[in-house]
Assembly symmetry: D3
Homo-oligomer: 214 residues x 6
């Protein structure tokens, strides 16, 4: 049905949830994830640029926004599969590729096909923009796992995800933006005060005692 | 962690939703689907038995209940992928197999492994029980699609699913239970009265006029 | 409208949630519960059979799958009512019975009525299959309560449910499968490591220090 | 634990959904229903008062707000049960009564018990306030059914509920407020314009043509 | 479309959630909140009346039920905005006022307009009923925050809300009902036993040991 | 708490839903909306660039991704308010501005503040990028309304939104990308085939008749 189909399909990404089949307090859709990755990548690129790196902003944003569009055709494969079977993952990439091609041929006018074929490709190559995407993708995953752990999720998988996401980020440690993330932002995350119920007693007591009428 | 892990994992099947990434009025989990397939298979087997077929009830129930357990390791692959790429599906089956094996070796005491390896296998073979499972699985899919169409889902995918599910069922038409399903139950489905808003006017008018006080 | 109505009604069980009116992190439908009870009963029966007991597999599965179908007519009565008033529960059983009868007479062809009247009956009698159903039903309830407690649910009702479910299971302790559940699976549940946020600090520190680049 | 338990329990009414086990586009909790009944009753009472009736406002509001509190102990019994078995309903009322009594004795200080025993009673007697409650309760049910029908719910039960709710309202036709509801508000409901997709074409065409640039 | 529009709009209040944009384990709609405020106000008024205060019950209930109706036109402004900018809040009140007026002129027959203009006004003035509404509104907010803290919500905002709600309540400490709330109900809340997972071990051990068969 | 707070806040945008207080079949968060606006803007910019316009891609993406971040502080104001009171909207912008400033001063290191103050500004000015943002924002709104209408939402507000969104788009008709959207994509939307239940009968009949076995 053409580009209308493409525009309409963006909404389907709101209905694909990440990490299916594990209890979560908060669900995250592929659409939301894409927004967050783009925003995180924007920050990393900003740090890189401030430190003299030559960021190709158009490419950087493009990769971040489109990097999971092809999940539309395949869904979000369960995390354990992703982590356990690199071979399958590769095959899946091929399938995603051919389904994306088919979609492009069917719905996109000829004039836009080449541009979008490029945009829908996995952008995690060795370029600065490719590396920024890799890191931003993992930072969002780290935050997803952190959010569950912080809310008290007893599922040990989230510790595993946290660990593997952080390990992946550390591999890009030579990047100044990653160094900044580790030294400043991750530190803030770790230092975040844990809230305990005793605090309620304190707040209540303190407010009641501060009251001059008593 | 052993069998406790297996018991606990049953709840994860409540969190894997079928057909991710398409708007649905009503979601169906793999756990619910398994229950419905077992109940539908029970009916088909009843018709077969009444017509003199020798149903192996233990096998029949076993296959129905366990047939999607391995989706726990892989998630529910998006419907279009399933339909478009039989080759990938096959590969996925292999992966499911090896992950299931790994899970069995890790969590199940030796004494139960063989039994459960058998139970977690794809049971859709040429036996009567295998065919009953194939049909019951498709009937539930047909009802899922029908439910969406009936509620007004504008997504054409559900017509495609309805069509492909029905086509698959028809292939088993030599089975007396399938014949019964087509002749009796499908007929009732098709004849179901569509409800229109005009009916509200009628009901209201009728009730108001029937009132002796007027 | 006939058997189509019966097939369609299976989906309604996906919309009846257990223990209404108490805050839960995770909801469980009657459909999902039926699936889990059948799977747990299957395990218990396997242990019994391995120990020389003569399991009637057809009956065992049948009772597990159908045991809550009649909740379709009544909904899931609130847990406190169930526990506080055995007399009402009994009366409810009668009502369920008569409503089930009425449903059978209206929707089922004569030829299937007797079979399904049997299937929709409460199957928790003194037979091995009846006892397996009783225990499996309570084990799933135990897991539901455990899941909430583990996720941090402050509602004390879940401790009460855990306690009463376990007490009911213990009553069947003479069964070898129940003994196995208590000695092996329950033990694993109790020993499960509780996850604390300190672990995040450790993981993070450990990963950062392990990095040779530092 | 005392009145804190009572205050806390109000939130549980947000988790009891009406008409469980039937597909609905929009769920309604007992808490929301109570709010709506109080607001509708307020309107009916206003009409009565304007027509010279002597409304006991305190009683009227009190009955509306508290009329379903005891569902906390029993849950919302499935609609078909309510409609099919008046005898059970009566018995349920007794049970609700004794559970409410027990709750009052346990959680309420002596000084408030009598007042709240009165408040938690079924208030649908023959007094003007009792009749207003009966009608308001049915009007909200009528709106719930209407909302589903209007959104395209294929479940015929909602027509049945609409019909029975309206029939109950009509029985109170001698009340001037009910007469007003039927003559004015119900009429508006029935006349409400149904929206069809063709309208989109029209809007679009109209806007495009109105554009002077074309 | 007249009063039908007003009746129908009550359901829209079920779809406006309080405190949008902060993770919550449990959502609360404006409709549910209104019900709870009315019930809490009813209790406070009862205490006042028992202590010789002359409560205007009609006014008290009216204000509680209608106090957030105008949020229909504006939505629930984010809590931080409410707390940070009293000036905007005031402006918002004006806007709410003029939108309410417009709604009344459009949908309400002339004869009801004056009554409802009065009802839709902010009722938190210095009268006993106004003060009861102010306190009841804050008590429900306190319970919302408490519910999140108790469930383990790591968001510090809920401590802030708890603190500010309690501080607001304390300002009305000269009211005998507020004194009662602080001395009796708040005390019960603070003393509520926190549940820890160790309890599961104890319950289990205790039940297993109590068993005479062992 | 610094930039960690900023990273964490991205997830809060997943919990702010657009158009609160109106029944919707499908909810859309501000995070999802931002993703879709960026993707739509990307397409419009592509058309502009292909037609010789000089697109500043960095600015274009930056504005699209960040354009609703400040809703974090205010929530999504109800649509009717937005449409009815341009004056309030303006005031809200001021408030958003000052809250954003405060947030920047508190959480952002000095070195990033200027960059992000720029990024969090309303970017809908008269530049090509500003106009692309204005149009993309409205196209997503148009699709939200269309999605509801297509699913059968009886709420007339969605027709109003559709109309106003389209009218806003038409105002930018001098842009070649808008012309393209109207001539090609909007046309496809309007021509989309409406699905009717009769189709099920046809599909079923056709499949059954095509079967050679019959």
């Amino acid at each position: 049905m053409g580009l209308h189909k493409y525009f309409q399909s963006l909404s389907d990404l709101e209905g694909i949830y990440r990490c299916p089949g594990v209890f979560k307090y908060q669900e995250h859709s592929v659409a939301s994830h894409s927004f967050k990755v783009a925003t995180i990548a924007q920050f990393l690129a900003t740090v890189e640029a401030r430190n003299g790196k030559d960021v190709d902003w158009k490419t950087m944003y493009e990769r971040a926004i489109n990097h999971d569009y092809s999940e539309l055709f395949t869904g979000d494969i369960k995390t354990p599969v992703k982590y356990a079977l690199p071979k399958l993952r590769e095959l899946f990439s091929q399938v995603e590729g051919s389904m994306t091609k088919e979609f492009l041929d069917k719905e996109f006018p000829l004039e836009f096909r080449k541009t979008y074929e490029e945009r829908f490709k996995e952008g995690k190559d060795g370029s600065l923009e490719g590396k920024i995407l890799s890191v931003a993708d993992k930072i969002d995953l780290l935050y997803e796992a952190y959010g569950e752990i912080q809310k008290g999720n007893p599922e040990s998988l989230f510790f595993q995800i946290y660990r593997e996401a952080l390990a992946s980020i550390i591999k890009f440690r030579d990047m100044v933006s990653v160094q900044y993330f580790i030294d400043v932002i991750l530190k803030e995350m770790i230092d975040e005060e844990t809230i305990s119920q005793t605090k309620i007693k304190e707040i209540t007591k303190q407010l009641l005692e501060a009251d001059p009428a008593r």
